[in-house]
Symmetry: D2
Subunit: 318 residues, 4 copies
């Protein structure tokens, strides 16, 4: 390990662990390309019980957002409801037909989400060498989330670090090293393979839910992947990685002079789709119960044209 991690490390590793051009100059899917149809077939053969577990946190006003970066929790409003029926406002619908409808307003990054490859960039370029001028008020013209509309289906693997360590949750500031990811996989008899979708549980959300406060969850100190995982993610050919935290990587960042360095390297250079705010407690319980930490995993984004992220409801089929 290096004595110092800094912005130079980010640029150097960014170049070293780059997948630019690997799948052609037009590619906008990044490491999701590792999920070949063969791997999807393999993933379909994993389920043993037919049990389905959701990894989504409910989308509502009690979500984790507290205003950091202008993000807010979902605002759900009714456009028609049972009260309207009682008030006679739907009496013009013949035969007693009555109905409810609703609407939502939310940042696409407010809850359980995938980040598009247009989400993070530096030095004027994003994944596959595309200019950030492509991302304006009218949306992203490249690397947007809609490019992944038939994606994020494959083998999922849960790495449950608190269970591995025998604690309820990792402390804030805990950097998860590649060796620990390997050890955790090995401990539950899983071999990480090319194209795997990795779910890393830190227990941070467990703590927030148990203590009934999201204080510090967004942008505060948090356990998470070390910048050293950049190489590991690249070499293992991980297709996507998600955690139960706000930003996947450890905070405070290991680089004093660089904000969110792992995202800089992995999203921009390696082209890995990052997921955040995953609710992994139910899945952890299910895996502990049946001893099986790999599963068929489906988590397609909503194809919102030009978006740089999407709320999702990721499912593990065990």
């Amino acid at each position: 390990m290096r004595s110092v991690l800094d912005a130079n490390t980010v640029r150097e590793w960014g170049e070293r662990y780059s997948n630019w051009g690997r799948w052609g100059d037009d590619d906008e899917r990044g490491t999701l390309n590792f999920i070949t149809s063969g791997r999807i077939m393999n993933a379909c053969s994993i389920p043993r019980t037919g049990r389905v577990v959701s990894c989504a946190l409910p989308f509502d006003e009690h979500g984790p957002q507290s205003g950091v970066g202008g993000r807010y929790n979902p605002i759900h409003t009714m456009l028609a409801d049972g009260g309207d029926a009682l008030a006679g406002a739907q009496d013009h619908f013949a035969g007693g037909f009555r109905f409810a409808e609703d609407a939502i307003s939310m940042p696409l990054q407010c809850g359980t989400q995938w980040d598009a490859l247009a989400h993070i960039y530096y030095d004027g370029l994003m994944y596959n060498g595309r200019d950030i001028r492509l991302v304006t008020s009218r949306g992203a013209k490249a690397n947007s989330i809609d490019r992944l509309k038939a994606d994020v289906v494959g083998r999922g693997v849960l790495l449950d670090l608190p269970r591995m360590r025998g604690c309820k949750w990792l402390d804030d500031g805990t950097a998860i090293m590649p060796e620990e990811l390997d050890a955790c996989a090995e401990a539950v008899g899983v071999t990480i393979e090319s194209g795997d979708i990795l779910l890393v549980r830190t227990g941070m959300m467990t703590r927030c839910l148990e203590q009934k406060t999201w204080r510090g969850y967004c942008a505060g100190p948090a356990p998470g992947l070390s910048l050293y995982c950049a190489r590991w993610l690249y070499e293992r050919e991980i297709a996507a990685v998600a955690t139960d935290t706000w930003g996947v990587e450890v905070r405070p960042n290991e680089t004093v002079d660089c904000f969110q360095p792992l995202q800089m390297v992995c999203i921009r250079n390696t082209g890995i789709t990052f997921g955040a705010i995953f609710q992994l407690d139910d899945l952890a319980a299910a895996c502990a119960e049946d001893g099986n930490y790999s599963f068929l995993f489906t988590a397609p984004p909503l194809p919102i044209t030009g978006a740089v992220g999407s709320p999702i409801n990721p499912l593990a089929i065990k």
Copy 2:
């Protein structure tokens, strides 16, 4: 067949094809209960190629909404973008870290969607005998879409009626009869089973996309399921049904004195989750190509607390 279909028919059939109490008084999942873990295991064994096809229409300002019922197309706005980086508005992020974020405002019924069982009701009650007073401005306290957060995973079956009939699309006003659903399934060698998720393609969306106009798509005349399908859906134990139209059933309605009678019976009494505005063209092409009209199908809603519907990205895994 009856000589007249009317509001009385709706009440009578509603009672006859009711599943209230079938899965307990607390049930909020309706016919999704037919999808047992065994059926999910069977569905996982269907894929032959590992090909994934999305059934979602892009979510953007070019969607089908034109203001009917206060519905509008998604409004996508950027909260941070590449232009901000150019303008120096992100210079306070150390190490050159730059990013884009965004938000959406949309009716939950504006695009590819599932309706919750709280979406349609009559005579003061919704599915499983619940009072419509439970659905107010603060959302639905029962039968809401979040109850289905680990649901809508199973065997999907596409019934491609235009292909069956040898036309590009069914004419507006075409009522699809149960016999035709059977014939269509038989023609492609599929036997409808309990717990199947049924996708019925009418070609209406194909026409709108080809003619580049959504005029009439929302609430206008449309091909769709006949009210006679209520019995068929009930007896075949269909778990969920979706079409490429605005409202699943034929329009103008077969009941002069009743608006959307099939929804009244199926959603409220039978407890079937309805899907609308599915983009089934890509799936139809894929099925025609490989001759396989059944597939593993996953289409979980976003668990928006208290919502009566959800935008979705339904995937067929073939």
Copy 3:
């Protein structure tokens, strides 16, 4: 004074201080009818300096809302901006024309506001005997804010209670009695007249701004008008009344068995338009400076069709 104020008092006083029918059965303007054209002419003759003072709190994310009642602070987003120009996203506009545009999402009650007469009701009826069934998800069909589109222009009077009492702000829970309103007016040489628009400063907002926290501002304990002011407001023929607090009246409420009793009587029965979250510090300073506590006052709501309130920018012209 009564020994006990309760829900019975509210009904009794509601009947006693009612203006239902006073301006005809069709009236939707309530006590704003007291502002005759003659009074407007008089008000125009008040200004001595031509100085204009705004009573609006800035509309932004730093507003007082904290989620109480589902209210949130304004969400301001850019639809086009200078960054777009830098990124070349506006290059299709000829001749170098570049522009910025934006949007807002906000509860109409989130900041400086007028409440419509459709805002508060009890026993199934609102102002002028209208059924609350007229207020549904599609808006208010009567007593809505748009009915006041050419209204709230007249003589304004500031009653600056902290200045009168020689303190920075009134303590939470302080009930302001009618006698104090009279004394305060008299002290600054103003005679309250029919059709006056009354601005009552408690200093609560001053405290929040000085202490840099809105904690408790919304729905918490607060200084405000006593229920005993109901008679006074009615008899003095006040056209509209506003304060620098969340809800005009004292909190905790003087009626244990009744929430916001003054609003119940005044808005529903007397038909007085209430204003809240007014920023009265600048105006208080201006009045203290020139010794003139009456002024020409204009504060028309935005005519949002069917709305039950409106954000406003009230101006005092001195």
Copy 4:
């Protein structure tokens, strides 16, 4: 008059009719500075009848927006309503207290509006030489609408061109020349003065409302001020100018190689606040009735922090 108007004209006239620095380098109010307190006092002495006329178009889904530039009509939703009361959703409020609340989502440029001086720019600079980098996704840091929170109060003058010409409305493409503005003012006995707020009625909105279609209203051909008015507006020291059209100036533009040249010169260089989508029919009728085309005019924007425009309810007090 020149033989050709083009982008060069815009730059040249922009320099010639510039007010940059006129009120100091910090100025963000532009020509509103012409409205001195003395002029406000004069304006207050104008009213003869105490009649108030609103110049706002209702803010609702029937507004003029059709999607041009991503603009949409206001979306008004209820957060609480009478139906909730009927459904018992407000039963936890003691004493029978019941209420309605609502929210709005709208582009700030969707209806009757003022444009901030940060709305239009070219060559990287906006009014008073400020860099467009100040206008990003987080709003405008200078020349924003909130800077005008105690502004736009003064003498208003209506120039009713259709009445002057004896027609119902001006044809699309009609360029209004400075001479006609003078003639129109003279015809009704008004002398244009420094600091006047000018309302120019073209009748285009009258036509749209009468023909019940907004087709072409936004960004289509329209009557409006000629680019030749730039000098006139500058020399007459007009404080603000508004019309009943989408964009104040004539369309198609008189400059083939330049979009909205009058806005480029007047907003960026002269620093004039432009208003659009004013409903001037009621005011025109009132002025015709009493023969008085000047009035006390108040139209403050909502002080939305960092916004580049604001919906308004402009009032003429006659």
